[in-house]
């Protein structure tokens, strides 16, 4: 229900309403003096009529003021709009209906908000008269779409039917900007009707400055889809991996953070984890009001490779996005060939004892990501290196000739080599045979007593394999270790001793990597194996040498965000096929990425407009076992589930200088009649003048 004016400039005439009052005040000041004998009769008369006189006096003043107001309003020609319906006259109308189809509309209006919004839009379109034109703009646009004003209601209604609720947040700046752009065309009357739940998240991201076009003279009417009851409102904020890596058949701990946006506690909320569509585990939790709860799931992944997962919330009357998708990469066991150059009858005295324990502390097959196999030097020639991701040489005196070439080939194909030294080592042999792969040529051995050991001093924290030292405990542990015997070598050290001699060096060979530790793998030359840091350091180095894969969980991106994929440079110019959750295919061009030091290809997927799993199909000829994941997850923006509304004050503050009026959707449904108030005002003016004249005569 509203009133607007066809000729609002005449409203300035309302200022003239003060004229009768001004004249009254001036008259009071301009008094005539008369000396009169019968003043006592005047006094008596005034006493008698005092009340009625004053009443009539003020009534007369009010009538005169009313007459001026009536005249000004009459000239401005007010139109009374019952409900919030469309125009009924006054020239051709240009109307832009902006329809909020953000995800929060799904829960607005007590569950059928979007339906209500569409119904309201249908009413507005149906109310168009001949000569009127309108356009329909959903809020999930990025501003590049083309819209135009149309006069055909049927086409507009078809467009309306095609608009679906989106999984993302409303792009209010783009939608309103587009609306003002459309209304640049000349029209008798222009108006924007924005049908919305006034969700706070959309307005939080809105900025008037980001709008390309604004015309404050065009009224913006917000048709509000409200709700009658306060629902239980929450969503999944985040899914994260709580354990170190994801190995096949190894325990994996996945945590889901569940948020409660409502003012009341959400009790007995069922949180369900499923992997590859199979329900893995479910828990009942209670989420405090305006708080969040972390739900932890423990599961095992049976197969290596990429998997899809989902965390689902279930409860009656629960509103908010209840599904969060994620993808995970389970890593198969990392096979490590440990060559013990100094095996002993007593295992504990063997050169490889501590190394094997570090790789698989429990000694059982399904308890560690690493699967070490120990051989002695004699078995080197027979070993099939391709079965292992990493080869560890522990105090191997000299390398057989046949093995060296096999090793070099293995390294070039991406294998990893970890070399520990020891008293058996023949530096010349290493320098000669592994000259191409050794990070540094070995010089003399430095031996000493345990008490005279050197401390570890410098660590390159930026190296991917050494990022574990961000942990202060491990840093302290490594610095407490002593190295009393080692082989000197020249080269850029990743870890150095206090005297500057290197302890850990690295060399890349083809696709493979070689790491040299200048001391022993056991306690003969140092006490590292008995330090806390030993296990994580060995696992980190081994994982690094195996290619850095350890299994991971990807919580996905939000709807509307772009997904960027790095691809092998050989794919430049080809298309990456993306299958969206609604089974529609999308081809994305793969372009060269030149800014990076290493030439790669890149594919940017912008059209992530639906929540769910997006499947990727690499072009023919691409390496299927490469680093490219076969799918990624897209989730509805977390805050879109928050059903808080923007207050009228905040709204006006955000929209100033645009005049915004909020109209409940119910009033629109009540009808859209429009009454020209000119005639009633004219009648009122005549009646006012007649009454004024009559009353004036009586004075």
């Amino acid at each position: 229900m509203s009133v607007f004016f066809l000729y609002p400039a005449f409203l300035f005439g309302l200022a003239a309403a003060s004229l009768p009052i001004v004249i009254h005040l001036l008259n009071r000041r301009r008094l005539k003096r008369i000396r009169f004998p019968a003043v006592r009769f005047i006094l008596l008369s005034q006493k008698r009529i005092s009340r009625s006189y004053r009443l009539r006096h003020w009534l007369l003043l009010a009538l005169r003021t009313l007459a001026v107001i009536c005249l000004a309003l009459l000239l401005a020609n007010p139109i009374f709009q019952t409900g919030a319906g469309l125009f009924a006259g006054g020239g051709p109308v240009a109307l832009v209906v902006v329809l909020d189809n953000s995800l929060s509309m799904k829960w607005a209006g007590d569950g059928n908000g979007f339906k209500q919004a569409k119904e309201a839009a249908r009413l507005l379109i149906s109310g168009l008269n001949d000569g009127d034109r309108a356009a329909l703009i959903p809020t999930n646009i990025d501003g590049k779409e083309a819209f135009r004003l149309k006069g055909q209601k049927e086409i507009l209604l078809k467009e309306l039917e095609a608009i679906e609720i989106a999984d993302g947040t409303a792009n209010l700046s783009a939608a309103l900007s587009k609306a003002y752009e459309l209304l640049q065309e000349p029209a008798g009357e222009k108006e924007i009707r924005f049908i919305t739940d006034m969700g706070l998240t959309g307005w939080d991201q809105f900025s008037l400055a980001s709008m390309k076009r604004v015309d404050p003279s065009i009224a913006l009417k917000l048709i509000h889809i409200g709700r009658k009851q306060q629902p239980l409102n929450g969503s999944i904020k985040e899914i994260r991996l709580a354990s170190q890596g994801i190995g096949v058949n190894l325990p994996v701990q996945i945590e889901a953070a569940v948020a409660n946006f409502s003012d009341s506690e959400i009790k007995d909320l069922l949180v369900q984890l499923s992997i590859d569509g199979q329900n893995k585990e479910q828990k009942l939790v209670t989420v405090p009001p305006k708080g969040e709860t972390s739900v932890s799931f423990q599961t095992r992944i049976g197969q290596p490779g990429a998997h899809t997962g989902q965390v689902t919330l279930k409860k009656e009357n629960f509103t908010g996005n209840a599904v969060a998708n994620f993808t995970l990469e389970a890593q198969d066991k990392l096979r490590v060939l440990v060559v013990d150059g100094d095996p002993q009858t007593a295992l504990v005295q063997s050169e490889s004892f501590f190394l094997i324990r570090a790789l698989n502390p429990a000694g059982e097959r399904d308890t560690s990501l690493f699967l070490p196999t120990v051989i002695v030097t004699d078995g080197l020639n027979a070993a099939n290196l391709d079965s292992y991701q990493v080869v560890a040489l522990c105090n191997v005196a000299a390398l057989p000739d046949g093995f060296v070439s096999k090793l070099q080939n293995y390294l070039r194909q991406g294998g990893g080599l970890l070399i520990f030294l020891g008293d058996k080592i023949q530096p010349e042999n290493y320098n000669q045979k592994l000259a191409q792969v050794l990070p540094a040529s070995l010089r003399d051995k430095k031996t000493g007593a345990e008490a005279t050991g050197e401390k570890i001093d410098k660590i390159d924290f930026t190296h991917p394999a050494l990022q574990i030292f961000a942990d202060a405990i491990l840093q302290e542990s490594v610095k407490s270790a002593r190295v009393w015997s080692y082989a000197r070598g020249a080269g850029k050290a990743l870890i150095s001793l206090a005297n500057g001699d290197p302890l850990l060096l690295e060399q890349k060979v083809g696709a493979g990597k070689v790491m040299l530790i200048t001391t022993s793998a056991d306690r003969d030359w140092n006490d590292l194996p008995v330090k806390t840091v030993y296990l994580p350091l060995i696992q980190a180095l081994t994982q690094y040498l195996a290619g850095g894969k350890r299994g991971s969980l990807d919580g996905g991106i939000a709807v509307g965000a772009a997904k960027e994929l790095s691809l092998p440079p050989s794919l430049v110019g080809k298309n990456l096929r993306v299958t969206k959750p609604d089974k529609r295919n999308l081809d994305v061009a793969i372009a060269a990425e030149k800014d990076r030091s290493r030439a790669t290809a890149i594919a940017t997927i912008d059209e992530n407009d639906r929540a769910g799993i997006y499947r990727l199909a690499l072009p023919a000829g691409a390496d299927k076992d490469g680093d490219v994941p076969p799918f990624y997850a897209v989730n509805a923006p977390f805050l879109e589930s928050r059903l808080d509304e923007i207050s009228p004050r905040e709204l006006q503050a955000k929209l100033t200088p645009i005049r915004a009026q909020v109209i409940p959707v119910e009033t629109l449904k009540e009808g859209g009649k429009r009454v020209d108030l000119a005639l009633p005002l004219l009648a009122l003016l005549i009646v006012t003048l007649l009454v004024e004249g009559w009353l004036g005569q009586r004075f």
């Binding site: 008259n27 009071r28 301009r30 008094l31 005539k32 003096r33 008369i34 000396r35 009169f36 004998p37 019968a38 003043v39 006592r40 009769f41 005047i42 006094l43 008596l44 008369s45 005034q46 008698r48 009529i49 006189y53 009539r56 006096h57 004075f699």
Partner: protein, 296 residues
């Protein structure tokens, strides 16, 4: 003639005549020209003087003995032993000085009083005048002498209207001073408390006097014909002021005034007092006619 007759009594015309005696004569002569002789005749008891005959004198009053002695016609003048003593009481308070259109209430009152005196004297009755405000300003005791009119006129012209009214008290004072019964004629706007006025008038009646009240008001006092917002200042009480819109209160004012008049008339009639409301716009003959009707 008819036009001239009319002019005799028109207050506006009278206002142009400065001489009060002339004014009174004009009125009375004009009036009497159309009226039969009074049937009330005084009878002579005491010889006063002789005066030479002049045409128009009654022949029966010629002193034939004197003719025999002096060979000239003399007329015998007697001091009339009249049966009427008229006291003309004229209100000379400040409120009487009001004139909305030409003649003020006081001037009108003076003319009326003078005319009445002239008429009374002419009928050989005794006439006296008292002018008063809140005190007696002048007192001319009643005499029936023909040339007594000059003294009366002198008393009337001697002082203009001033001071506050206290009609009731003055009437009581005068009533206390009257020794002989007669006719009391009060000419006043009666702008005072009604009860004391009526009390004073009743005093006259109590002593056997006949009383005629000429309630003299300006037409503006009756109609309140003003426009616009007006600050009314009282003519007598300087501190009595009021702002009013006459248009708004006119009807009520007129009702109030008419109620006052009606009340006064009713009270007077109850005490057998002749009451006559006279507006300054009323021709004087109507006022005099009222007296003559009383005189029979």
């Amino acid at each position: 003639m008819a036009t001239n007759d009319k002019n005799y009594f028109d207050p506006k015309v009278l206002a142009g005549i400065a001489n009060l005696g002339l004014r009174a004569r004009w009125v009375v002569e004009g009036l009497m020209s159309g009226v039969h002789k009074s049937r009330a005749k005084g009878f002579s008891v005491e010889f006063e003087e002789h005066r030479e005959y002049s045409p128009g004198d009654e022949i029966r009053r010629i002193d034939w003995k004197a003719l025999g002695k002096f060979d000239r016609y003399f007329i015998k003048e007697y001091e009339d032993e009249t049966n009427l003593r008229a006291y003309l009481l004229l209100d000379a308070s400040a409120s009487m000085n009001y004139a909305s259109d030409g003649i003020s209430k006081f001037d009108y009152g003076c003319t009326l009083t003078a005319s009445l005196a002239y008429l009374i004297l002419k009928q050989q009755d005794a006439a006296g005048v008292v002018t008063f405000s809140n005190r007696i300003e002048s007192f001319v005791p009643p005499r029936a002498k023909r040339d007594y009119l000059l003294q009366i006129l002198h008393a009337l012209e001697n002082r203009g209207p001033a001071g506050e009214t206290n009609v009731g008290k003055i009437l009581e004072d005068i009533a206390g001073q009257l020794r002989r019964r007669g006719l009391v004629i009060l000419v006043s706007d009666l702008l005072d408390e009604p009860e004391p006025i009526l009390k004073g008038l009743r005093q006259f009646r109590f002593k056997g006097n006949d009383v005629i009240v000429f309630h003299l008001l300006d037409q503006a006092e009756l109609d309140l014909p003003f426009d616009g917002n007006i600050l009314f200042e009282d003519l007598e009480a300087a501190n009595l002021q009021i702002i009013a819109d006459p248009r708004a209160i006119r009807a009520t004012y007129q009702t109030v005034v008419q109620e006052f008049i009606a009340d006064m008339r009713k009270q007077c009639h109850a005490d057998s007092i002749d009451y006559q409301l006279i507006s300054t716009s009323t021709p004087l003959d109507q006022a005099l006619a009222s007296y003559l009707s009383w005189r029979g």
